[in-house]
Chain length 365, copies 2
Amino acid sequence: MSEKSVKTINKIEELAKETLKQIDNKKNPQINVPLRSLSNTWFDEKEGILRMGDKAQKRYFMNLSHTKKFMQTLLVADECKKLINSGKTTSIRDMFYSLKRPVANSTKDHVFADQNESDPILEDLEVTLDVMREDLHLFANSKGALVGNITIKDSGDTIDARKMGSGGWAIPSIVEPEVIEFKDVDADYILFIEKDAVWRRFNEDKFWKNHNCIITHGQGMAARGNRRLIHRLAKEHNLPVYCLVDNDPWGFYIYSVLKQGSINLAFESKRMAVPKARFLGLSSFDEEKFKIPPQVRLPLQQVDIKRCKEMLNYEWFKNKTWQTEIKHMLDKGVKLEIEALSRRGITFITDEYLPTKMETKDWLD
Amino acid sequence: MSEKSVKTINKIEELAKETLKQIDNKKNPQINVPLRSLSNTWFDEKEGILRMGDKAQKRYFMNLSHTKKFMQTLLVADECKKLINSGKTTSIRDMFYSLKRPVANSTKDHVFADQNESDPILEDLEVTLDVMREDLHLFANSKGALVGNITIKDSGDTIDARKMGSGGWAIPSIVEPEVIEFKDVDADYILFIEKDAVWRRFNEDKFWKNHNCIITHGQGMAARGNRRLIHRLAKEHNLPVYCLVDNDPWGFYIYSVLKQGSINLAFESKRMAVPKARFLGLSSFDEEKFKIPPQVRLPLQQVDIKRCKEMLNYEWFKNKTWQTEIKHMLDKGVKLEIEALSRRGITFITDEYLPTKMETKDWLD
């Protein structure tokens, strides 16, 4: 068993022992669960990441409105301990089914009736123990692929990402050092691309070879495995990270989650966020700069405008360049997809757009 | 340029020449576009696939309600010819943006205003020329991954799917013989799994090694690349194909599209469908057979019941075993996810469920 697994099991056992001690002392058993809410989230400007504050909620066994959650928390902890001991990993959906069973002596009430109930308890356990979901041997769905100037050791297999054809290496959901090691990292930077179809263009044009980098895509928002992988690469190998997303509020959001973390899971930022990630494009100013014909514009919808206005108020979008960027989008009233660049030619994006952006350091921090 | 590309370009040029000839002869230019509708779809029982009938629609240039589509069809054909000549591939979204431009002498009307307009024209072109989208160098999004006892040559790179770690090889969207070759196929069969999280269980337990097979997942419905890959493997290497999906109408549907093809794209069945694919589970009878506790059942929703009833009437679900299967689901009023098996233990699915199913040949054709 890895050192980390031993530590995680110790933490679970500490939680259980503390509860037993409280019972022995005839006290009302309680668990301190840090609050995962907007009100307990703050932007750490120095580190450049979202953080969870120190507000916590006491969860009591002898409190009618807490009892069920108290039981659920301990049962999830128990399942996780079994899981780590078995050396296996499983999905959060499996975890739900493992505990979709009647509460002792009840034929009606289930420990969990729905995954919407078990997922938050799992997140409570993560913050209570201060461990990542992956340390509990649990994973969510995986998405995304990678190619480039790096060799990856995955579960003992050596994967040369320079020789992964048109498909690439599918990024798994658990990329902790026990499973994934990095070898021969020759790349100068990592390029994260929102869309797999655009990533395919970059791979077909061997962009990673010609520009000595690693390219990865998220099939939309980057999944946990992808975020953690980029975080580790950026940190352990001091690699710059560049993001290429649509020029719309959703693209901005994908970038900001990768960079600073998300409000919902602020407690994970320190192990997932990539504060030095840079926004390469598409910028609201690219249309003029790169002479993109106006016909490929898409009008901003009401929901886009609303989202832009929300973003203008986020602490982490408060610097002048981002305010200018978002306001320019609102002023123009249009958004632009990455694929719109193909109006200038299929390989315009790899031949001209990206190289120009990199050479002129035309990015946002 | 590959032989196939030369053939495809010839077909495009034939279409253009025929149009020019009609103009020279002062005839109203027309294109014969086969109909892609339910009324022009039939189930070929002998081959076991859905097929497109021989109804076609004449698309005239000199007909006000046809003129725009006539122009669009020729412009898409022209773009595809350029694409094939360039040796590049691109996404159907890129294709839309390439033609999102004003019609000559108009500032208002665009060739295409929306991708919902360009995709059907592209499909029209596919059936008119009798080529696959991939032959036109176009791709949709990719999904899914693969590991197992096979080596794959992808764009010149050799990928040993026995050494792909926990992530696997990401299946690209274009898997034609020009790009993807199969080497050292030692597997006895292919197992297609609906869910990536379940596939991960199979990979972690090295199921493909212990049972000498290839395992692939679809992240839900199998994408074109995945279907075509399984089709080629099944045909070229005479491999049986087994499907593992949720026990619900959506799972049945995923299986049936993989096996017989879909109504919308019936013209592709002969190059995509896998008529010998077998439905391994989860069957509506598995709950009893494998002693799955009733707590993990989910009630059928109205939409499930409606879908089941529709399926009972499809020609390709008319055989006795499938009628019994679907009716049993309706009688019980419940559905079951693959993950429900983990109630019997995390590795129950790989240790007991799958091996028992295979040994007792407990599948549906």
